[in-house]
């Protein structure tokens, strides 16, 4: 079963705007990660946030984690057309047999 549920399922914005994607999960986690998948390509790791961290930045990416609510958000600032892709959250579960469980994904479209 899917560990993470993401919303929105699809998001369409204009270039330069910010994009926010949310992820909820069900079990205790060791860390939470975000991946990007361009159409027809493999997934690319973007950022990892540990369960004892609340916020993390990487370039135009900002990730938050609220373990009490079992939720995370990914903010992409000043979006570009090249950010158009599907974004997935993934959880590395505590005692979870060393596996990463993916959410349902958000399809982001950034229009010129």
């Amino acid at each position: 079963s899917q560990q993470g549920e993401e919303d929105p399922q699809a998001l369409s914005i204009q270039e330069g705007e910010n994009a926010t994607m949310n992820c909820s999960y069900k079990t205790s986690i060791n860390n939470l990660q975000w991946y990007r998948q361009n159409s027809g390509r493999g997934l690319v790791h973007l950022i990892l946030i540990r369960s004892n961290e609340r916020e993390k930045h990487s370039g135009r990416l900002r990730v938050t984690l609220d373990t009490s609510k079992k939720s995370s958000s990914l903010l992409i600032t000043a979006s570009r057309a090249a950010d158009t892709a599907s974004y997935f959250c993934a959880t590395f579960e505590t005692g979870g047999g060393n596996k990463l469980t993916f959410g349902t994904g958000t399809q982001l479209k950034v229009e010129l």
Partner: protein, 116 residues
Amino acid sequence: DTAVSQTPKYLVTQMGNDKSIKCEQNLGHDTMYWYKQDSKKFLKIMFSYNNKELIINETVPNRFSPKSPDKAHLNLHINSLELGDSAVYFCASSPRTARGNTGELFFGEGSRLTVL
């Protein structure tokens, strides 16, 4: 050089056939995985190997048999293909750090299997 490479990229075959997908990583990672992505883009783990040893088998039908000849290779063989096997199959690997395995994955480009 491609870090995680899978072949073939596309595979079209008839129901009942047997096929294999090969995966190789040149990152020196100990752990390798197979994931299946369906038409709705749901990604589900199938298998994981650590240094040639099977550590995760997620209730995948036994028509699917992974084989790891060495820690840089993890191949997937599928017997008696069914329509529902149509999907994109991703190979991935992950490193072991001083803090243990964080689960950060490096993915191949995927192998799109179409069963007719």
